[in-house]
C-alpha cells in the first residue's frame, strides 16, 4: 500500500469522525432530563468521544482493508458456501430440523426458558410461513399482517370466554374469521400495485388496532381480555387439582404434576400447526392456484393474457395467508391467557415481513433460519434490555446489505414445463 493511500484513508476517517460527532453530539451528548418543573440537560461527552473514536477507527480499518482489495472476502466466501450447502441439502436440513424439533423438549439442556423461546420462534415461523403465501408466492407486499393475527387472537379469546367452547372448535372459527378479514381487505386493494398496496395494508393493520383499543364494549379496550381458557390435552386439563368429576393430565397418565407438561404440550401444538402450514404451502404451490400465485408475482399482464383471473387469485392468497395468521393468533391467545392491543403493533408486522424477506422470498427453509436468527439475536441481548431492539434492527440492515436476496434466495418456479433444463 502506498503512502498516498494511507493519507487518503486517514483523511476519510477524520471526515467520518466529524459526521459521527454531528450525529452523536446532540442526541447522545446532551441528554434531556426532566427535573421538577422543566427539562434540563445532562452532558455525557465521554460516551460521545468513545463512539466517535470507534467510528474513526472502524472506518480507518475498513479503508486499509479495502485498499488491499480483501474487503469482506472471508465473509462473502463463507456466506456463499453456506447458501450452496443449505440449498443442496435443503431436504436433509428440513428432515433433521423437524427431528430435532420433535426431540427438543426432551434434550437434557432444555429448560423452561429454552422452551419459551422455542415456542416464540415457532410462532414466528408459522406467521412467516403464512405471510410467505402472500408476499413470497403471490408477491403482494402486506405490511398489516398482524391485523389477521389480532383478529385470530381476539376471535378465539371472545368465543372461548363467552361461549366456553374448547380450543379445537375455536381454532378453525378463528381461522375463518381471519380469512374473512383477509377477503375484506383484499377487495378494495386489488387494483393497487406495489407500494400503494403496502401503505393500505399498513393502514388496515392500524385501523384494526385502533378499533381494538377503542371498542370497549367488546374488546375491553387497552386493558385487553383476561382469563382466556388454557388448552386441554383432548379434554384433560393441565391442573394440579382438577375440579370435581374431572381428570387432569398428570392423574390420567400417572405422572408427577409439573408445569412443564402444559408448556411441552403447547410446544407440540405450535409445532404441528406450523408444520401443517408448511405442508399446505408446499402442496398448494403445485396446484393450479399456487402456480397462478407464482405467475402473478412474476408478471401480472402475462397472467391476464393467459386467462388467469387476478382478482380471485389475489383474494385466495390474502384469505389463506390471513387464515394461517388467525390460527397463529388463537395459539398466541391460548398460550398467553391474556391479550391486549399492545401485542399487535406495527412492529410485529415489520418483524414478520422481515423474516420472510430476510429468509429469501418464497423459501420455506429461509423463514426458519431467519426466525431463529432474528429472535435468537434479540434473546442473546436480553440482558441488555434496551439494546436488543437496536441489535435487531441492525441485524436487519446488515443482512440486507450483505445478502440482498435473503439468506436463501429461492425464486425458482416450483414447476417447470419440461422439467429443469440445465
Amino acid at each position: 500500500m502506498e503512502k498516498k493511500d494511507i493519507i487518503q484513508s486517514f483523511k476519510d476517517s477524520l471526515f467520518t469522525g466529524l459526521i459521527a460527532l454531528a450525529l452523536f453530539g446532540p442526541i447522545v451528548g446532551l441528554r434531556t432530563v426532566s427535573k421538577g418543573e422543566g427539562l434540563f440537560i445532562t452532558p455525557q461527552w465521554g460516551v460521545v468521544f468513545l463512539l466517535v473514536g470507534l467510528c474513526i477507527l472502524g472506518r480507518f480499518l475498513i479503508n486499509i482493508n479495502s485498499a488491499r482489495r480483501t474487503e469482506f472476502k472471508i465473509f462473502s466466501t463463507l456466506s456463499s458456501k453456506f447458501s450452496s450447502i443449505t440449498e443442496d441439502k435443503a431436504k436433509h436440513f428440513a428432515i433433521t430440523g423437524i427431528l430435532f424439533a420433535v426431540v427438543f423438549p426432551f434434550l437434557p439442556f432444555t429448560d423452561r426458558y429454552f422452551m419459551d423461546v422455542a415456542i416464540m420462534i415457532l410462532t414466528y415461523i408459522m406467521l412467516g410461513w403464512g405471510l410467505n403465501i402472500v408476499v413470497g408466492l403471490a408477491g403482494l407486499l402486506d405490511l398489516g399482517y398482524v391485523a389477521f393475527y389480532a383478529v385470530g387472537a381476539y376471535s378465539y379469546a371472545l368465543i372461548a370466554t363467552t361461549f366456553g367452547w374448547s380450543f379445537w372448535i375455536c381454532l378453525p372459527l378463528a381461522g375463518v374469521f381471519a380469512a374473512f378479514f383477509g377477503i375484506l381487505l383484499g377487495f378494495p386493494v386489488l387494483r393497487l400495485r406495489g407500494d400503494y398496496l403496502a401503505i393500505v395494508t399498513l393502514g388496515f393493520g392500524e385501523i384494526i388496532r385502533i378499533i381494538l383499543i377503542n371498542w370497549y364494549e367488546v374488546t375491553n379496550g387497552p386493558d385487553g381480555i383476561t382469563g382466556i381458557p388454557r388448552p386441554s390435552f383432548f379434554g384433560l386439563p393441565f391442573k394440579r387439582s382438577p375440579d370435581e368429576g374431572e381428570t387432569s393430565f398428570h392423574l390420567f397418565f400417572n405422572l408427577e404434576y409439573s408445569t412443564m407438561h402444559r408448556i411441552i404440550f403447547l410446544y407440540y401444538l405450535i409445532l404441528v400447526l406450523a408444520l401443517i402450514t408448511n405442508y399446505f404451502t408446499l402442496k398448494i404451490r403445485k396446484l393450479p392456484v399456487g402456480r397462478a400465485w407464482e405467475a402473478l408475482r412474476e408478471d401480472e399482464i402475462a397472467c391476464k393474457s393467459l386467462g388467469v383471473n387476478p382478482t380471485n387469485t389475489k383474494l385466495t392468497a390474502f384469505a389463506i395467508g390471513a387464515m394461517f395468521g388467525g390460527f397463529a393468533g388463537s395459539f398466541f391467545a391460548t398460550r398467553q391467557a391474556f391479550i391486549s392491543p399492545e401485542s399487535f403493533t406495527f412492529i410485529e408486522s415489520a418483524i414478520i415481513v422481515a423474516i420472510v424477506v430476510l429468509g429469501g422470498m418464497g423459501s420455506q427453509t429461509g423463514v426458519v433460519l431467519a426466525s431463529i436468527f432474528l429472535i435468537g439475536i434479540t434473546e442473546m441481548f436480553r440482558d441488555l434490555e434496551q439494546f436488543r431492539m437496536i441489535a435487531f434492527g441492525g441485524a436487519m440492515v446488515l443482512i440486507m446489505v450483505f445478502k440482498p436476496k435473503g439468506i436463501l434466495a429461492n425464486r425458482k418456479p416450483t414447476i417447470l414445463m419440461h422439467g429443469d433444463k440445465k
Binding site: 434531556t32 427539562l39 378494495p188 401503505i199 393502514g203 377503542n214 422481515a354 434496551q386 436487519m396
Partner: protein, 303 residues
C-alpha cells in the same frame, strides 16, 4: 360556522407539518423508488435536536426570533447529517437490488433510530414550556371565539416560505433539473455526466431538513415529544404522500393538507378516538377511485 373556521385553521396547521414530512417521502420515492420507512424517525430526531437547542438557547436569554432562526438552522443541519448517513449506510449498498431489499433495510434503520433515541434520551416524554403565547381573535361577538395563535401563523407562514424556496430549487436550479432527470432515467442521467449518487444524497439531505423543520414545529405546537412520535407522524405523512400521488411534489403538500384537515374535522365533529381510522379509511376509499392518488402519474403498464 365559527367552530368550522377554528377547525379549518387547526387542520391547516397540522396539514403543514404533515406536508413537510410527506415531501421527504415523495422525493425519495420519486428518485429511487423506495419507501423510506426511516423518514418518520428522521423527523423525530429533528424534533429532539430542536428541543435540545431550544433548552440551550432558552438559557442564554436571546430574543425569540433569533432563537427560532438559530434552532431552525441547527435542527436542519444535524438532521440532514442523519438523513445523509442513513442513505449511505443502509440504502446505497442496495441500489439495483430487488424492490423489497431497501424497504426491509429501511424498516431495520427505523427500529435502530427509534431505540437509539430511547437509549440515549430516555423513554419518558419530554415536555417543553411554550415559547409562543397569545394570538388573534376573531368573531368576538359570537358564542364561539375563533383563535388563530401566533404559533399557528408562524407554522403556516414558515411552511409557505419553505415551499416557495423548495419549488424554486426543484424547478429552476441545476440541482433540481438533475434531480428531476434522475427521477426519469437514472442510467441516462449518469451518461449525461450527472453525478447520480451525489444527487440522491442531496435529495436525502433536503428531505431530512424539511422533516426537521416539521419536527421543530411539532415540538412548538404540541409541547411534548417522545422517541415514538416518528412512527405515527411518519405513516400519516406517508399516507399523505400516497393520497396526493406518490412521486408528485405538489401532491405531497396537497395530501398533507387533506390528511391534516380530515383528521381535525373528524376529531372535531365525529369522534376523537377514531381520527386515525378516518385518515386511513379515506386513503383506502380514495385509492379505489384514483389508484395512483390525486396528482400521481397514471401507471402505464408496458409489456
Amino acid at each position: 360556522m365559527e367552530y368550522f373556521i377554528q377547525q379549518l385553521v387547526n387542520g391547516i396547521t397540522l396539514g403543514s407539518i404533515y406536508g413537510l414530512i410527506a415531501i421527504g417521502y415523495t422525493m425519495v420515492y420519486g428518485i429511487i423508488g423506495m419507501i423510506n420507512f426511516a423518514h418518520g424517525d428522521i423527523f423525530m430526531i429533528g424534533a429532539f435536536v430542536a428541543l435540545i437547542s431550544f433548552i440551550i438557547f432558552g438559557l442564554t436569554g436571546v430574543a425569540l426570533p433569533i432563537i427560532l432562526l438559530l434552532v431552525l438552522l441547527i435542527a436542519m443541519l444535524f438532521t440532514a447529517c442523519y438523513g445523509w448517513t442513513v442513505e449511505k449506510l443502509a440504502y446505497k449498498p442496495l441500489r439495483g437490488s430487488f424492490r423489497l431489499a431497501p424497504l426491509i433495510s429501511a424498516l431495520g434503520m427505523s427500529i435502530v433510530l427509534q431505540n437509539y433515541v430511547q437509549v440515549s434520551q430516555g423513554a419518558r416524554v419530554k415536555p417543553m414550556q411554550p415559547l409562543f403565547s397569545g394570538g388573534l381573535e376573531f368573531f368576538k361577538n359570537s358564542e364561539f371565539i375563533v383563535t388563530v395563535s401566533y404559533l399557528q401563523i408562524f407554522i403556516v407562514v414558515l411552511t409557505i416560505i419553505l415551499m416557495g424556496i423548495f419549488t424554486y430549487l426543484i424547478t429552476k436550479t441545476d440541482l433540481g433539473r438533475a434531480q428531476r432527470a434522475c427521477e426519469q432515467d437514472r442510467t441516462m442521467t449518469a451518461l449525461l455526466g450527472i453525478n447520480v449518487d451525489r444527487t440522491i444524497s442531496i435529495t436525502f439531505i433536503i428531505g431530512s431538513s424539511l422533516a426537521s423543520v416539521a419536527g421543530m414545529m411539532f415540538v412548538l405546537y404540541y409541547g411534548v415529544i417522545d422517541f415514538y412520535i416518528g412512527f405515527l407522524a411518519g405513516i400519516k405523512a406517508f399516507t399523505a404522500a400516497v393520497l396526493g400521488g406518490i412521486g408528485s411534489l405538489p401532491g405531497a403538500m396537497l395530501g398533507g393538507l387533506l390528511i391534516g384537515l380530515i383528521e381535525t374535522f373528524w376529531a372535531g365533529y365525529v369522534s376523537l378516538e377514531y381520527k386515525d381510522v378516518a385518515a386511513f379509511s379515506v386513503l383506502i376509499v380514495v385509492l379505489i377511485f384514483f389508484p395512483t392518488g390525486f396528482l400521481g402519474k397514471p401507471d402505464i403498464e408496458k409489456v
